[in-house]
Subunit: 287 residues, 2 copies
């Protein structure tokens, strides 16, 4: 089965796109956190969203969740690890599941993370974004896990059950403790290695030698996911139709640039969905 589109991201832009695609009865997969946007629930008060006066972030988030549920929208809680163009459609690896889609809407939010030096070059060569997928390759070996959210802790635990030794570099107050897990307080500044990942360099300069490096982050660096995507200052370049430079790939919300605002995000999600609908119609008439 090839989906009409895959929406990546469950913030307001992703939701807005999903609502419209649902109404237009498109077949799509919606990938991201079931909790929708962390950022929203943490917002104290939203004063400039038309139609919802002085609403708290939590209440806004509840409304969006309820609306998604009532509209029958389903979220697949997997992180996208890889996107490959298959000519006429795209193949996505999300968690350890594989999806195919004719088009993609990137609604990934502000892209805080840019890839580490060495990360893109060594991706698939000892660098992995998915413990479930690639963990088994490191039986009894030494791995480093760079992790930026507690939701990946079960993956860290999973790796500790396979690997002989895990260097654990969380960027938040982490809770995982195991005998073969060594927490590293220092920051990772580089993934080193020639043909394959051989170690991580810490901000102090020290290199820890490892057999593999897992980067478990809320958002994969888009530059690693789609190296040919045109971006500027960390923002995906789009036109007025929210089309990126890659055919069938659209983007919406904070990932396309400032202002980082809910109203902008829902507007762009709406436009991206309509552009996907147009794109699919054109594709159909081509064949």
């Amino acid at each position: 089965m090839i989906y009409d589109t895959a929406i990546i991201g469950t913030g307001p832009a992703g939701l807005s796109a999903a609502l419209n695609l649902k109404i237009h009865q498109k077949k799509f997969i919606w990938l991201g956190s079931k909790a929708l946007s962390d950022k929203i629930s943490k917002a104290e008060k939203i004063s400039n969203y038309p139609g919802l006066e002085d609403i708290s972030g939590q209440e806004f988030s509840r409304r969006l969740s309820r609306q998604a549920r009532d509209m029958g929208l389903e979220i697949t809680e997997q992180m996208v690890n890889s996107i490959v163009s298959m000519g006429d459609y795209y193949a996505l690896l999300a968690g350890n599941e594989f999806f195919q889609a004719k088009s993609i809407i990137l609604a990934t939010g502000v892209i805080n993370k840019t890839a580490l030096p060495g990360e893109e070059r060594l991706l698939g060569k000892g660098v992995s974004y998915c413990a479930t997928c690639d963990g088994p390759l490191y039986k009894g070996k030494t791995v480093a896990v760079i992790c930026n959210a507690s939701r990946f802790e079960h993956e860290v635990e999973y790796l500790s059950e396979i690997a002989g030794k895990v260097y654990y570099i969380p960027t938040y107050k982490a809770a995982v403790e195991r005998e073969n897990i060594e927490k590293v307080a220092d920051r990772v500044v580089e993934i080193v290695g020639e043909e394959k990942a051989e170690g991580i360099r810490l901000s102090g300069g020290e290199v820890i030698n490892v057999d593999g490096v897992f980067c478990l982050r809320n958002s994969v660096a888009l530059s690693a996911l789609l190296p040919k995507l045109t971006a500027e200052n960390g923002h995906i370049m789009v036109d007025r139709k929210m089309a990126t430079n890659l055919p069938g790939i659209f983007a919406a919300g904070d990932c396309t640039g400032r202002p980082y605002q809910y109203a902008k995000a829902v507007g762009e999600g709406n436009v991206a969905a309509h552009s996907v609908i147009e794109y699919l119609a054109e594709k159909r008439s081509d064949t």
Copy 2:
């Protein structure tokens, strides 16, 4: 007093811009109908506006009105008849009031009306958009009034008190009846005249000779208001910042093109407001 900006239009795009400019404490004038958007209140059910599930148009409209009121936003219920660039700022004639603004946000909605042949050429030469302003010039004379909404009926009555004879061409089911008002059922296809307006041509070919022509429409044709504005297929061309080709003039909502959607409109209004804020900051640092 020169306003920071003038927002033209009180639909969702205009409201979204106004909310943001208010929060940023900009001085602005907001021109349009106090009833906000007619189109919204007539919408039966809105299913794709994030945060407001299956809301009726009337309820959405009520919410927007309440939000505008609670945020202290004031609407000046005047139609803009003319915009003139004064180099560093713009002069606007709205109704019979005169305003000055450093920037403008056009949020005028779908532009159904394009100007009639002859209308732009003869504007100010017998063609007028404002009965209150130009009515007195036609004492005892014959005028034609092309009118597309009942809210202008008092202006038609006003003209009938001044003029000797009024040809009244409403595009809706009109109620005005006066002894010197002759209702014309046919459609106007052209305003004729060389140096000044001399008559109106009806779709049947017949020409009615008049001294002046009043076009009272919910929205003035933007091509007449801002002849140098770049438009395509009746849509104002904007970039990702909602900037038009004219310095300091931004546009948002349905007037910039499809999809004609509330989410898009509020998103674009938000972006336009932020672009105005940036524009004003740059202007200030220039001087």
